[in-house]
């Protein structure tokens, strides 16, 4: 349930932005979440809606769109590129939970399937971004 703290970050940021742009209503927030972190979308959506409820009319009916970005890792030693399923299928529950909290500890639990190195670049699929914020102007 640390999805809640991320949801707070999203709502605060969107409202700040909307007010700066002098919007009168926030109609939509488009969010991109990296697959690496394995955010539970149900919980995240629930948190977002609960937090929005506290923010009054300005965010009444704000639509939330969530897009998951696939993880792509690239080995710095051999250049091999690999993705989500190959990573998660072989992880234990505790390893997954550790990565859920702190995505960078993937470097502890995942290695290049081709050469065994833990020195890889996270090309895509890490972090949390707001892609766009839409609203009404008076």
């Amino acid at each position: 349930m640390h999805e809640w703290s991320l949801a707070e970050a999203v709502v605060e940021t969107a409202i700040d932005f909307a007010k700066k742009k002098q919007l009168t209503k926030l109609t939509k927030i488009k969010i991109r979440v990296g697959e690496l972190q394995q955010i539970e979308e149900d919980i995240f959506r629930y948190a977002l809606s609960e937090i929005l409820k506290l923010k009054g009319d300005f965010v009444k009916d704000t639509e939330i769109e969530i897009e998951e970005e696939e993880v792509v890792l690239k080995c710095r030693i051999c250049g091999h590129v690999w993705t989500g399923k190959e990573i998660f299928n072989i992880l234990g529950e505790d390893d997954k939970e550790a990565i859920h909290f702190l995505p960078e500890v993937a470097h502890t639990y995942t290695k290049c399937p081709s050469c065994g190195s833990t020195d890889f670049e996270i090309i895509k699929g890490r972090g949390l971004y707001i892609d766009s914020i839409t609203g009404d102007k008076s």
């Binding site: 640390h2 703290s5 970050a9 960078e104 500890v105 020195d119 971004y129 892609d131």
Partner: protein, 242 residues
């Protein structure tokens, strides 16, 4: 594309009265031991204290506190720090245990951002940050994420530590970050004039800690270490400034 995590950090740190980063640049000068003991001293004085281990390759504070393994912190609308010896405590060790975690600078930057965005420290009088050696991603990203921070600097009476100490001082001064003062650690017979050097660098000289030959015996025994002469010395030094 906005990263919303940066935005929430101010709110996350709002309930903390003072954030004290322990640094000095060089490795092995006693940052971890001093930050841990400082946290324990303040807690024994009745304060609400947090301790965050920001050294991701050589996390040490959990060992000083006698914790071989660390459980996951609880989740409650974010992450709730562990309670270790009465300290609100967080270390990457909860997530890595004793496995190697080879992080590049970019990974470190991301990890710090995530930790600061999701941790709920609650009401604290002090949050002590144990920094890694170097003027690298950890120190720099910290200054990106918050300016509500003061530095407690450490150096040893060695020309090798001094070179980096003075660089850290210049960096912090150029950016107007408050420096509480500097502590001279591991003093054997002589201070080799480093007391004067600290003063002439424009940093408040806080005092010296002797080199304790048998300190290793107390690592992992926080209750026993609190009765040592070293902690007594440190208490005297910190009294006026924290």
């Amino acid at each position: 594309m906005i990263d919303p995590r940066k935005n929430i950090i101010k709110e996350r740190l709002e309930s903390i009265k003072r954030i004290v980063a322990v640094s000095g640049g060089k490795g092995g000068i006693g940052k971890s031991i001093i930050s841990t003991l400082t946290a324990l001293i303040l807690k024994d004085d009745g304060k609400n204290v947090g301790l965050l281990d920001m050294d991701f390759t050589s996390p040490s504070t959990h060992i000083i506190l006698g914790q071989e393994k660390l459980p996951f912190p609880k989740e409650e609308k974010g992450i709730i720090p562990l309670n270790i010896d009465g300290l609100s405590y967080l270390s990457i060790v909860s997530y890595t245990q004793d496995n190697p975690t080879p992080l590049r600078g970019e990974d470190i930057t991301n990890a710090i951002l995530e930790l600061f965005a999701i941790t709920r420290w609650g009401n604290l009088d002090y949050l002590i940050l144990d920094l890694p050696p170097g003027i690298g991603d950890v120190l720099l990203e910290l200054l990106v994420l918050t300016r509500k921070i003061e530095f407690l600097l450490v150096t040893t009476p060695s020309s090798l530590s001094w070179q980096t100490f003075i660089k850290v001082v210049r960096l912090l001064k150029e950016q107007n970050i408050p420096i509480i003062g500097a502590l001279l650690n591991m003093v054997n017979s002589s201070t080799y004039g480093f007391e004067e050097k600290i003063i002439s660098s424009g940093v408040r000289y806080l005092g010296k800690l002797d080199f304790y030959r048998d300190l290793e015996r107390y690592i992992g025994k926080p209750d026993e270490i609190m009765d040592t002469a070293m902690v007594k010395e440190l208490k005297d030094i910190l009294e006026d400034v924290l």
